[in-house]
């Protein structure tokens, strides 16, 4: 089996300020990896480098692309990278407003990626958009409503549908349950788990919520001050943390 994503020596700094340093990992098809750490630990920098939003200073991000096999997304042209961003991977933002077009209908939001890769049949695009709304538990009758009329949880589900419509194999998520009520979080987590399982998706999820990673992630990477201090199976890292920082992190969680 070919790894879906191989990250080698990835580093990024902002002038004198360190973003992330010498990150290495391999993600296999179907795996969900969580990245935890406090604000400023470099987890979002890392995610943005992986997704091509930021250019790393050093390192390689080798993605097993659908059409051309393993390719270094850091070294490829912006045009190629954007194409992959519409086909092979997806990015779910913490704030749905960053990931949705708020003045475009739900159907248009979902259909955009299809149209960006060449779909030109309105009926087909609309049918696929409706199908995806149903899959993320949004009433298909709301296909023409704009996202600003949706609740926060619906907006986040719409963002997920918009990202998954072109069948990416890898999903990057930045605090996907961040701004949501606890009850809405649960529904979204269940939806994500079901989609990951049914579609065989791989995912990299950045969060500071250890409960979320325990329920969603197979593997966990712990970051502090731009460095990966520990990684392993999610329940192993949480139940038997090895590094001082991880031990502190795990012991600091309030037990509900």
């Amino acid at each position: 089996m070919t790894p879906l994503l191989q990250v080698e020596g990835l580093s990024k700094s902002y002038g004198a300020h360190l973003g992330c340093k010498d990150v290495n990992f391999t993600l296999w098809p179907g795996e969900v990896m969580g990245i935890v750490g406090e604000s400023g630990s470099g987890k979002s920098t890392l995610l943005n480098c992986l997704a091509g939003h930021l250019a790393p200073d050093a390192g390689r991000v080798i993605l097993d692309t659908r059409d051309k096999g393993p390719r270094d997304t850091v070294a490829m042209s912006e045009a190629e990278r954007r194409w992959l961003a519409r086909t092979d991977w997806a990015f779910v933002h913490q704030n749905p407003r960053d990931g949705l077009r708020m003045n475009v209908s739900a159907g248009g939001n979902v259909g955009e990626r299809l149209m960006a890769v060449g779909a030109r049949h309105y009926g087909d695009i609309r049918a696929q958009a409706s199908d995806w709304l149903a899959r993320v538990e949004i009433d298909a009758a709301r296909v023409d409503d704009r996202p600003r009329a949706f609740s926060g949880g619906m907006q986040q589900r719409l963002q997920i549908a918009r990202n998954l419509v072109t069948g990416p194999r890898l999903v990057f998520m930045d605090e996907p349950t961040g701004g949501l009520d606890v009850s809405v979080q649960a529904r979204l987590l269940d939806l994500l788990r079901g989609l990951v399982r049914r579609l065989g998706l791989s995912a990299v999820i950045v969060t500071h919520d250890l409960a979320v990673v325990r329920l969603l992630a197979d593997r966990l990477m712990v970051m502090k001050d731009g460095h990966v201090v520990e990684d392993g199976l999610t329940d192993q890292v949480l139940d038997d943390p090895q590094h001082a920082y991880t031990q502190l992190l795990v012991s600091s969680v309030l037990q509900a």
């Binding site: 912006e78 519409r86 248009g108 259909g111 955009e112 960006a116 030109r120 296909v143 023409d144």
Partner: protein, 282 residues
């Protein structure tokens, strides 16, 4: 004539403009930035078109200027007079006699021919502008042919109105590459852009952009397979004056009790048809 440099602009400025025009011709549909000058008229009155026209004019040219198809509206008359004064060129209202036609919001009904130049006045050159506000991003989108968003706009029209509701400034794809705003011409005129024997130049003064369609360029209006482009016009009737059924019509309110008539927006075309008919009658 001695009061002004030929065609108002200094020679260095015309050289800058011609370079931009040449580049635009070389890359059909691509918006070339240029250093727009202050012109003796306000932005929105055709400063971009006037600069492009000034850069193209030679003393032998015959100039026609139309506004919404008409030769006799304020904008058209003042620009025509302007060039008559600063360039001393001949002017005409007959499409076929003009070597350069500056236009606002129309393409003449009379088919253009090789050797003619059509200069469009453009208010907002960027077809992606109202979808994506960042210029850096729209430029990147053009560079990478990332045009999904443009299609989203058409999708939204169908979802909302049951059809692509844009009646003017209908976006086109040039030679299968750049998506271009054809300026606010009615979509009825879009087919005339395609494979035109004339050189078509677009000038946006406030936005500092020039773009071009060289003669015989393939220009395709964006659409969906199941909602194909329709170059329709609002009124499906004939002109009340010349009875033309194939020209673009303006609605004219004739009184305050709801009376109205539809007449050709292209005054030269309409007048020529009327004259021909009277000639036949006589």
């Amino acid at each position: 004539m001695s009061d002004y440099n030929f065609a108002y602009l200094d020679e260095a400025t015309k050289r800058m403009l011609r370079r931009a025009i040449l580049k635009a011709v070389a890359i059909p549909g691509y918006q070339v930035p240029f250093s727009s000058r202050e012109m003796p008229m306000p932005y929105g009155w055709g400063t971009g078109g006037v600069q492009v026209t000034a850069a193209c004019l030679v003393p032998e040219d015959t100039l026609k200027v139309i506004d919404q198809g008409a030769d006799d509206t304020t904008n058209a008359v003042s620009i025509r007079k302007f060039f008559a004064r600063v360039a001393g060129v001949a002017t005409t209202e007959a499409t076929a006699e003009a070597s350069i036609i500056q236009t606002r919001h129309r393409i003449p009904e009379t088919p253009l021919s090789e050797g003619q130049i059509l200069v469009f006045q453009v208010p907002i050159p960027e077809p992606l502008r109202f979808l994506e506000p960042r210029e850096t991003e729209t430029r990147t989108m053009h560079a990478l042919e990332d045009y999904g968003l443009m299609q989203v706009r058409l999708y939204e029209d169908i979802a909302r109105h049951g059809e692509i509701a844009r009646a003017y400034a209908y976006p086109v794809r040039v030679q299968g590459r750049y998506v271009m705003d054809p300026s606010p011409i009615p979509k009825f005129d879009n087919p005339k852009l395609n494979m035109s024997p004339a050189l078509q130049l677009f000038g946006a003064g406030r936005e500092c952009r020039i773009y071009a369609l060289p003669p015989f360029t393939h220009v395709e209006s964006l659409d969906f397979e199941d909602y194909p482009f329709q170059p329709s016009k609002a009124a499906d009737q004939a002109c009340a004056i010349c009875e033309a059924a194939d020209s673009y019509l303006d609605e004219v309110i004739t009184d305050d009790t709801g009376g109205r008539m539809f007449v050709c927006s292209d005054t030269d075309y309409c007048a020529a048809r009327v004259a021909a008919r009277q000639g036949d009658a006589a």
